[in-house]
Symmetry: C2
Subunit: 151 residues, 2 copies
DNA sequence: CATGAAACCCCTCGGCC
DNA sequence: GGCCGAGGGGTTTCATG
């Protein structure tokens, strides 16, 4: 947690990557007024520091066989929450998990090939001892889904 | 909406990109037993079809100045919902918007530099005529946030 | 820590199957 | 539709300021 502190060049490089994460090091260098070698080494550092956790394509999930998006609120007995989270984290249908304030402890966003997949997922959750109750919302329309942030 | 239907090669290429969206066309070709030229043309088609909407870095939001994540449920009068959505979509702090079933109409996930940013956002929402009520959950821990899907 | 240069590697396109 | 080859670029390392 010590060698952090991003400088302006780091932020500029991140901004360019947010426009297009496949942009070449050379192009980025041109856009940020630096050299390819410098951009390359900054990029490696950003990855090593964990600021950048990877590069992914933004895929339209309904076009690749996952038309069902659900938001599942979970109320759980505290002691087992960490273990539940670890298990949920490794389930590939789950795209987001948040610990939240309010009537529920956990919010899960997950995508499924069909309603049956969702049904099985929720029933499996409810079958667990540490899960007290769940509340499922179906997302019948994904208006936006894009992790980019303004830097 | 007609020339869709992805074949196995398309799915393999998408899978390689999910592992690392900066992977070179040549490396992808090697991994999927095809040629760089073929992978290149498939990739262009996937982008043109809208299956791939872009390439982004997965950034740790708390490390780039956005430590506050909130989930905001919104209940709104139906006629103005589309306009509200369009406006929300262009707000860069908003990373996801879903039309949902249940007691609320909309679920928004947004990130902020501090609590004040969240406060302003929610108050602006409530000031709108079409917004009936909101319910905000703070995510005090982001357990997972990764849009990749198993293909 | 940033840079330029050089060696190596890759992208992309037109022509062909 | 897929593949090959070539030319123009791109990436990465290293020695130097």
């Amino acid at each position: 947690m010590s060698p952090k502190e991003l400088d302006e060049l780091d932020y500029k490089i991140l901004s360019e990557l947010m426009k297009d994460a496949r942009k070449s090091v050379r192009e980025i260098a041109k856009a940020v007024n630096s050299s390819p070698a410098t951009v390359h080494s900054r990029l490696q550092k950003l990855i090593k520091k964990g600021v950048i956790r990877g590069f992914i394509p933004l895929v339209d999930s309904s076009k690749v066989g996952y038309p069902v998006t659900a938001i599942i609120m979970v109320s759980a007995k505290g002691e087992m929450l960490r273990k539940l989270e670890e298990e949920l984290r490794s389930i590939k249908n789950v795209i987001a998990i948040y610990d939240i304030t309010g009537d529920y402890d956990l919010m899960i966003i997950a995508k499924f090939r069909d309603m049956e997949g969702l049904d099985v997922f929720v029933k499996d959750l409810l079958a667990r001892e540490e899960v007290v109750k769940t509340l499922t919302h179906i997302a019948f329309n994904v208006v936006k889904e894009d992790l980019r942030l303004p830097l």
